[in-house]
C-alpha cells in the first residue's frame, strides 16, 4: 500500500508540470494580452492611455518576454518560494486573493456535498427497493427536474421568491452591515440566513443526478444472486439491503469523492456569480476574461493539484472499501 501511494505521488509530479505549462499557454492563446484588455476597459470608462504608456506597462509586466521565460518566472517562484505571482488586475499577490475566498468556498461546497449525499443515497436506495412505487415515480420526476433545471435559473427563482414573498435580503453571503465586520454571533446568524439559497441550489442539482446513479446501481445489485443468498440466510430486508447491495452500489460514489475536491475549490461558478457569492469561482472567471495569467494560471494549477490529490484519495479509499480492487 505504501509503495502504491509513493509511486502514485511520484507520477503526479510530471502530470502537474505538464498541466501547468499547458494551462499557462492556453490562457495566453487569445489575441492580445492583459494590457489590451486593461486598455479596452479604461476606454470604456472614458479614460485614455497612450501607446507609449501601453508599451511601458507591457515592459513592466514582462509581457514582451518569450512565453517560456514568462512561464519559468512564474513556475520557479511557486516551486522555490511558494509565491504564486502577482495579479495584474487586482494589483495584489495571487495567494492573498485566493486564500481569502477559499475558506468560504470550502465551507459552502463541503456542506452542500454532505447534504447531496444525505439526500441522494437514502432516496436512491428507496427508489430501487420500491421500484415503480408512487414515491419512486415522485423522486424520478424530482430527479429529472433537478437535473434539467440549470442551477443558475433555480438560484434566480429562489432569490426572487425570497425577496418578493419573504422580504429577505438575498445575494452574497452577508448583509451590508456585516460585510466587513469582525466575526460575531450576529454575523454567523446573518451568514446562515444567506447560506440556505446556495446550499439548496447546489444540493438539489447534485442530488438529482446522484439519485439516478444510486437507483440504477442498486437495481443492478439487487438482482444479483448474493442478495438472494443474504435473504436465504434469514436476514431482514433492511439488513440485507444496507449490508450487501448498498455496500457494492456505493463504489461509484467513492470513486468520485476525488472529483469533489477540485469541485469544492472551483465551486459552481455560474451559480456563484448569480448569487454574488464571495467564493473562488467568480474570481477565476474574471481572471480568465482579463487574461490575468498569473492569477488564472495559479488558479488552474491549484485545481490540478487538488484533482491529482483527490484522485489519489479516491483510489486509496476504493481499495480500502472494495477488496476486489485491493488484491487485483
Amino acid at each position: 500500500m505504501v509503495a502504491f501511494i509513493l509511486r502514485r505521488a511520484l507520477l503526479a509530479i510530471p502530470t502537474l508540470i505538464f498541466i501547468s505549462f499547458i494551462s499557462f499557454v492556453i490562457i495566453q492563446l487569445p489575441p492580445g494580452d492583459y494590457v489590451t484588455a486593461y486598455v479596452a476597459q479604461l476606454r470604456q470608462s472614458g479614460e485614455y492611455i497612450s501607446a507609449i504608456q501601453e508599451a511601458q506597462l507591457r515592459e513592466q509586466f514582462g509581457l514582451n518576454d518569450p512565453m517560456l521565460v514568462q512561464y519559468w518566472r512564474w513556475i520557479s517562484n511557486i516551486v522555490l518560494r511558494g509565491e504564486f505571482g502577482y495579479s495584474l488586475e487586482w494589483n495584489a499577490p495571487v495567494s492573498s486573493l485566493i486564500w481569502d475566498r477559499l475558506g468560504l468556498t470550502l465551507a459552502i461546497s463541503s456542506v452542500s456535498l454532505v447534504i447531496t449525499w444525505l439526500i441522494a443515497i437514502p432516496v436512491g436506495v428507496y427508489s430501487a427497493t420500491r421500484q415503480y412505487s408512487f414515491f419512486d415515480h415522485f423522486f424520478t420526476v424530482f430527479g429529472f427536474l433537478g437535473k434539467g433545471i440549470p442551477d443558475f435559473l433555480l438560484a434566480l427563482v429562489l432569490m426572487w421568491m425570497a425577496f418578493a414573498y419573504m422580504n429577505l435580503d438575498v445575494g452574497g453571503l452577508f448583509s451590508p452591515q456585516y460585510q466587513n465586520a469582525p466575526w460575531s454571533l450576529a454575523k454567523v446568524v446573518d451568514l446562515l440566513a444567506h447560506l440556505w439559497i446556495p446550499l439548496v441550489v447546489l444540493a438539489t442539482g447534485g442530488a438529482a443526478g446522484l439519485i439516478r446513479v444510486m437507483r440504477a446501481n442498486m437495481l443492478d445489485e439487487l438482482g444479483k444472486p448474493y442478495v438472494e443468498t443474504a435473504y436465504a440466510q434469514g436476514l431482514s430486508e433492511s439488513k440485507v439491503v444496507w449490508n450487501y447491495p448498498v455496500r457494492v452500489a456505493l463504489n461509484p460514489f467513492i470513486s468520485t469523492v476525488g472529483w469533489a475536491l477540485p469541485a469544492l475549490f472551483s465551486g459552481d461558478i455560474i451559480t456563484a456569480v448569480v448569487l454574488n457569492l464571495p467564493t473562488t469561482g467568480p474570481l477565476l472567471l474574471q481572471a480568465l476574461k482579463m487574461q490575468d495569467m498569473y492569477l488564472a494560471g495559479s488558479f488552474i494549477l491549484i485545481l490540478s493539484v487538488f484533482t491529482v490529490i483527490g484522485t489519489l484519495i479516491s483510489d486509496i479509499l476504493l481499495a480500502w472499501f472494495d477488496p476486489r480492487i485491493r488484491y487485483a
Partner: protein, 354 residues
C-alpha cells in the same frame, strides 16, 4: 390481469406422517406478464422425508427452481401470490405453514438459514464480493444461534473445516474472489449448513463447476448429509448427478411433476414417456456406437402457450389422439411410483425399452 388472483386452495387438514419433513400440495406460482400469464409452477405436489435426498430433474424453465423459491418464500416480486399448501416440520418439531407466510415475515426469516439452508448454482456471484466468507457465515450464526463474535468465528472455522476447506483458519478471512470455484461452493455450503438445518435446498449446485470439482462437491454433500442427518432437495438437469446422490427422483416438465419414483424405478422402470425419452437421450459408453443419439422431437413450448391436456402430448411418441391433448392426465400411482400419464398402466406390463 390483476383480477386473476386465485383464492387459496383449501389446506388439507390430514396431519403429516411422523417421518415427513416437507410437504407441498398443489402449489401454483403464476407470473402475470404483459405478454400473458405464465404458469411457471402449475400444481406441484411432492414431499421430502427426514434425512432423505429428493432429486428434482427438469429442463430450464420447467419450474423446479421457482418451486424451491416458493418454499423459501423468495419468489421474484412480479410473481402473483402463490397458492397451494406448503407444510414444514423441522427436527425441532414445530409445525410451519410456509404457504401462509409473507416474504418478509418474522416467521419465515426464522426458517430461512436456520431450518432450511440453500445453495445456488453460481458460487461466483452467490457470495457477497465485499465481505469475507467468515463474515458472511458469522452473520448467520450470530443471527440464529445467538453466538457472540468470538464463538461465531470459531464456529465459522469449524464449518469451513467440515466442508474440507484447506487451511480453514486462514480461509475464514478470504474474500470470494480469492477462492477457486470449488472452494467458493464449499464456502457456500458451509454458509448453508451453518445452523444445522433440517433441509438443504441445492439449486443446481454443481452446474457451474467442472466435472472433477462436481464429483468432489457431490461426495462432500453426501458425507455431510449422512453426518448431519439433514434432508436435501437436489435440483439439477443432470440424470447422472441424480443417480449419484438421490434416494427418490421427481421429473418436472412445464410446471408439473410428471413422474416421481425411487431412483432405481426412475432409471429401470420409468412410467412416463418424457422420463423415458430423457433417459434415451443420455449418451452411453459402448452402446449404439456410430448411431445418432435419440432426441426428443420438437421444442419446449413457449411458456405463454402451453399445450392443452398433457403438456407433453405434441412431442410424445405414445400420445393418444382425442385423449392426451384434451384432458390433463391424473396422478396415477403404482406403489411409491407416480406418473402423470394417461397410458402409464401400459408401461407396467412391458417396461419401456430404454
Amino acid at each position: 390481469m390483476g383480477s386473476k388472483i386465485m383464492t387459496k386452495s383449501p389446506v388439507p387438514q390430514n396431519p403429516m406422517p411422523a417421518e415427513r419433513l416437507l410437504e407441498l400440495d398443489d402449489v401454483h406460482v403464476h407470473f402475470p406478464l404483459r405478454e400473458g400469464l405464465v404458469k411457471a409452477v402449475n400444481g406441484v405436489s411432492y414431499h421430502v422425508d427426514k434425512g432423505e435426498v429428493l432429486g428434482i430433474v427438469g429442463e430450464s424453465g420447467s419450474g423446479k427452481s421457482i418451486t424451491a423459491r416458493a418454499i423459501m418464500r423468495l419468489l421474484p416480486k412480479r410473481a402473483a401470490p402463490p397458492t397451494g399448501s406448503i407444510r414444514f416440520r423441522p427436527r425441532t418439531g414445530e409445525d410451519f405453514e410456509l404457504s401462509g407466510l409473507d416474504r418478509n415475515s418474522r416467521a419465515i426469516r426464522q426458517v430461512r438459514g436456520r431450518h432450511i439452508g440453500m445453495i445456488f448454482q453460481e458460487p461466483m456471484t452467490a457470495l457477497s464480493p465485499v465481505h469475507t466468507i467468515g463474515t458472511q457465515i458469522m452473520r448467520t450464526v450470530q443471527l440464529h444461534m445467538g453466538l457472540g463474535k468470538v464463538a461465531a468465528r470459531a464456529r465459522a472455522i469449524d464449518l469451513l473445516a467440515k466442508v474440507q476447506m484447506p487451511r480453514p483458519a486462514q480461509m475464514v478471512d478470504a474474500y470470494p474472489h480469492q477462492l477457486s470455484g470449488g472452494m467458493r461452493q464449499r464456502a457456500m455450503i458451509a454458509l448453508a449448513i451453518s445452523c444445522d438445518p433440517s433441509l438443504l435446498i441445492a439449486d443446481e449446485p454443481t452446474t457451474a463447476l467442472d466435472v472433477t470439482t462436481e464429483a468432489q462437491i457431490l461426495e462432500l454433500l453426501k458425507s455431510l448429509q449422512s453426518e448431519l442427518g439433514m434432508a436435501i432437495i437436489f435440483i439439477t438437469h443432470n440424470f447422472g448427478v441424480v443417480a449419484d446422490i438421490a434416494d427418490r427422483v421427481s421429473v418436472m416438465y412445464l410446471g408439473r411433476i410428471v413422474e416421481t419414483a425411487s431412483v432405481d424405478d426412475i432409471f429401470y422402470a420409468p412410467k412416463h414417456p418424457y422420463t423415458q425419452a430423457l433417459l434415451r437421450s443420455i449418451p452411453r459408453l459402448g452402446v449404439d456406437q456410430g448411431r445418432r443419439l435419440p432426441t426428443i422431437p420438437g421444442m419446449v413450448p413457449d411458456p405463454f402457450s402451453v399445450p392443452e391436456g398433457c403438456a407433453f402430448n405434441p412431442r410424445c411418441g405414445h400420445a393418444v389422439a382425442g385423449l392426451c391433448e384434451v384432458r390433463v392426465p391424473p396422478e396415477k400411482r403404482f406403489g411409491a411410483q407416480m406418473s402423470r400419464c394417461h397410458i402409464a398402466d401400459q408401461f407396467v406390463q412391458e417396461p419401456a425399452n430404454v
